[in-house]
């Protein structure tokens, strides 16, 4: 990677290491990737914001059915743009060292399509739709699935709240293995 620390001061690197779950090496790789993604407009810095479409070119996000939700959730100003620090946030939550509760928190917001802090029928329908892609489940199967989901996980009626969601995910051992990627 050439001169490794040309873009970061030692203090900046330490700060990033402290505030995220990434190691120094991962941060530098992330910087390289970021420059590749947004690079065409001259030397990028760490605060300027770039449109979401550029970030969605990242290989891990390119074919992800939830990529627009991901970039929206991690965008700090919700202006459909992301900065490098938002990108680091994303990588940090997705790293294997992030704890279950944190991932569950973000997963909840990613699945909450209408952003009303509750996973109700509408949100779940969107989730199922995106997960099956065009390899259909028939519409009545999808409805049945959403019904079963709500039946199984909803403890108090009215949709799945964030607490119920977190409690649910403690019973799913695969979540931590599937909800991650690394640079």
């Amino acid at each position: 990677m050439g001169n490794k620390n040309s873009a970061f001061t030692e203090e900046e690197l330490e700060d990033y290491e402290d505030l995220t779950y990434l190691t120094r090496r991962e941060i530098l790789i992330a910087w390289g990737k970021w420059r590749g993604l947004v690079g065409g407009r001259g030397e990028p810095d760490k605060i300027s914001r770039y449109p979401e479409k550029d970030v969605q070119k990242l290989p891990e996000l390119q074919h992800n059915p939830f990529r627009d939700r991901i970039t929206r959730v991690f965008s700090s100003l919700k202006d459909s743009r992301m900065s490098f620090e938002d990108f680091l946030d994303l990588l940090s939550v997705m790293s294997s060292k992030a704890p279950l509760q944190l991932k569950a928190h973000y997963a909840f917001h990613i699945f909450d399509y209408n952003e009303d802090q509750i996973l109700d029928t509408e949100d779940l329908e969107v989730v199922v739709e995106r997960l099956t892609g065009d390899h259909g489940l028939l519409p009545e199967e999808k409805n049945k699935l959403v019904e079963r989901l709500l039946e199984d996980t909803d403890l108090d009626g009215g949709g799945i709240s964030e607490e119920e969601f977190k409690h649910l995910l403690t019973k799913c051992p695969d979540f931590i293995h599937s909800f991650r990627f690394s640079v």
């Binding site: 090496r25 891990e60 700090s76 997960l131």
Partner: protein
């Protein structure tokens, strides 16, 4: 933004918001130390690239398998280091000297008076005349050299009798005889000691083997604990299958359009399977008594059949070993055939039986997942036990003979003989696996190039993860079995296939559990060999002793001074009372933890109920408030 957050944090104010990044100095220091250490030990770097590519193309289940493989290879590396460092290297450096073969263990007469186990044996070579400390020498030290020479001379004779031909070399390679026999590949070569005050070779041998097993055991316990911590305990009330499928449905590790399509297909498949299972359960509840009884009978029959087949295979192996012993003389090709027959039978059973089981399990009407598990367990059982039974049978045959120095005796050096058995199984298995991967699978993929749809379906190979796990476990078992008899085996080779993924089966905990069972199963014959059989006179580092573990007693007895406490501990633990007390303590601890688990389960259920009641209360109060407000505006 980060800088401003950081500045905010370093200001000395009490922050009431919970931040998820850590600012505590101790944790910070630990993390810094850990990351700089990791930077130094860049050993994982090679693995990381490969694993990442696998992850991207095939998804997290295949990744889990390769992670398992990597852990196994790391374990084997450590074991190799232990064994090679402890046994092989010193023996190679020192054992070239043929006079070392004269060293052996000499019994002293200890039957008079107070029996002190420390004085039973003594390490001597035949150069020394009988010393004054022993009055009766039951085995003359000269015998060691004579026995050993009988054996090696016999080997050389056999070598020279047959002409060197390609077939002969292939036969030798497959079985470990001829050229390969008197080498460091097998246990017989290692001497009992390296000279007068030299390296304690026999103790090193014993301790290295023991350490290798201990390391494997600790390793497995660690991994099983780690995986079981992630798997939650079953709360039977609410089923979370659908939630599991949907919310963990997308594998975020995949990159590339092909892999993404695969995950979509997987997801749809899993939902359909879950609905099928659901219907199956509904049907199950609606079964009539009569159907139920018929089903139970069928299952019982199938299980009896399976057990019968497995026992049949054991008996077959036993008889084959017996018969092959009797037919050991004959022409050289015939001899090869009879000696190699047990190995080939084991391989044949390993191949045929899983196919049989997949056929038979259809009649038992299990759920899809259970069906897979049952077949897998049966296949594992057959593979591991047939190997173990082979070794066991040989051990029984050996133990029936008494040790002798006759060069015509096939068991003059039984350690090497057992090592050869394991070696031949290993070689055959490796050849078959490489053959299957490189020849058959490559051929199948090549068939895909033709534009015939039939050939195309034939060429799409599933990476059947449990099958490959079984292969790895089997190899590892061979490795463990062989540690005693053939110390060079810990360097194991695995072939990595490159295939496409269509099915995802997930459980790393299952891999480790199977490995644990295999380990325990392998301990049995090795334990028996080490603890109960008399070492042969012509070779092996324990020649002259009654039992191999007496080496340990000998050296413990000679510890004085600062290491005297080891001796005290070993002799105290030996008593039955202490062992009994330890076992009782462990059982009590186990009972305590089990009760703790059940208490916590009950607590979780109570809290869930409470949550439900609290929300019901909320709804009730909201309704009451609405009712009270309705007459309000009308007033």
């Amino acid at each position: 933004m980060r800088q401003s957050t950081h500045r905010q944090l370093s200001l000395p104010q009490a922050s009431t918001e919970v931040k998820w990044y850590s600012t505590q100095p101790v944790a910070k220091a630990v993390r810094k130390g850990g990351s700089s250490l990791a930077r130094i030990l860049q050993a994982n770097y090679i693995w990381r690239n490969v694993l990442k590519r696998i992850e991207g193309r095939f998804g997290s289940s295949v990744y889990a398998f390769f992670n398992f493989l990597r852990a196994m290879i790391q374990l084997n590396l450590v074991l190799s280091l232990v064994v090679v460092g402890g046994i092989v290297v010193p023996s190679v450096l020192l054992a070239g000297d043929p006079s070392l073969q004269a060293w052996g263990w000499v019994t002293n007469d200890n039957s008079s008076g107070d029996h002190d186990p420390c004085l039973d044996f003594q390490l001597e070579a035949n150069e020394k005349a009988s010393t004054a400390t022993s009055q009766y020498i039951l085995i003359s030290p000269l015998q060691f050299l004579i026995c050993n020479e009988n054996y090696t001379e016999n080997l050389k004779e056999i070598e020279q009798k047959h002409e060197v031909s390609f077939i002969k070399i292939v036969q030798d390679f497959l079985q470990g005889t001829g050229l390969f026999e008197w080498t460091i590949l097998f246990a017989g070569r290692y001497p009992a000691s390296a000279g007068d005050n030299g390296y304690l070779a026999s103790l090193a041998y014993f301790l290295s083997v023991f350490t290798a097993y201990l390391v494997s055991f600790v390793f497995m316990v660690y991994f099983v604990a780690k995986f079981f911590r992630q798997t939650p305990l079953r709360l039977k009330e609410k089923s979370t299958i659908f939630a599991n499928i949907v919310f963990t449905g997308w594998d975020f590790t995949v990159r590339g359009a092909e892999a993404a399509r695969t995950v979509h297909i997987c997801f749809t498949g899993e939902v359909k399977t879950a609905f099928d299972d659901d219907q199956f359960l509904q049907r199950k509840l609606r079964r009539t008594k009569r159907e139920y009884v018929t089903l139970l009978l069928t299952r019982a029959c199938v299980n009896v059949l399976v057990i019968g087949l497995i026992i049949g295979s054991w008996v077959g192996i036993y008889f084959l070993v017996d018969v092959s012993q009797k037919n050991i003389d004959g022409g050289s090709n015939e001899k090869f055939f009879w000696e190699y027959a047990p190995t080939v039978t084991v391989a044949a059973f390993n191949f045929m039986y899983p196919l049989l089981f997949t056929f038979v399990v259809q009649y038992e009407y299990y759920r899809g997942h259970t069906e897979l598990l049952v077949t897998l367990i049966r296949s594992v059982f057959v593979r591991l036990t047939s190997l173990v039974v082979l070794i066991f049978t040989k051990l029984i045959v050996i133990s029936q003979e008494s040790r002798s120095c006759d060069p015509k005796d096939p068991f003059i050096c039984w350690e090497t003989h057992l090592g050869q058995q394991v070696y031949s199984v290993f070689v055959l298995d490796a050849i078959l696996q490489c053959g299957m991967t490189f020849v058959v699978d490559v051929a199948r993929k090549a068939l895909g190039r033709f534009n015939n749809p039939l050939l195309k379906t034939l060429s799409q190979i599933e990476f059947f993860v449990p099958g490959h796990v079984l292969d790895v476990v089997y190899l590892q078992c061979i490795c463990w079995l062989s540690i005693i008899h053939a110390p060079l085996f810990t360097v194991s080779v695995t072939c990595v296939p490159a295939t496409r993924v269509f099915r995802a089966s997930r459980s790393s905990a299952m891999f480790m559990t199977i490995l644990c069972l295999a380990f325990l199963l392998c301990l049995v014959p090795n334990g028996m060999a080490l603890l109960y059989l008399r070492p042969s006179l012509a070779c092996s580092p324990f020649r002259g002793l009654d039992y191999s573990w007496q080496v340990f007693t000998y050296y413990v007895c000679r510890l004085t001074g600062s290491t005297y406490w080891i001796r005290w501990v070993v002799f105290t633990v030996d008593e039955a009372l202490v062992v009994g007390a330890l076992i009782v303590a462990v059982l009590l601890l186990l009972a305590y933890y089990l009760s703790l688990i059940s208490v916590r389960n009950a607590l979780i259920r109570r809290l869930e109920k409470k949550l439900k009641h609290a929300s019901n209360d909320k709804v009730f109060l909201m309704n009451q408030r609405e009712q009270q407000q309705i007459p309000g505006p009308g007033r």
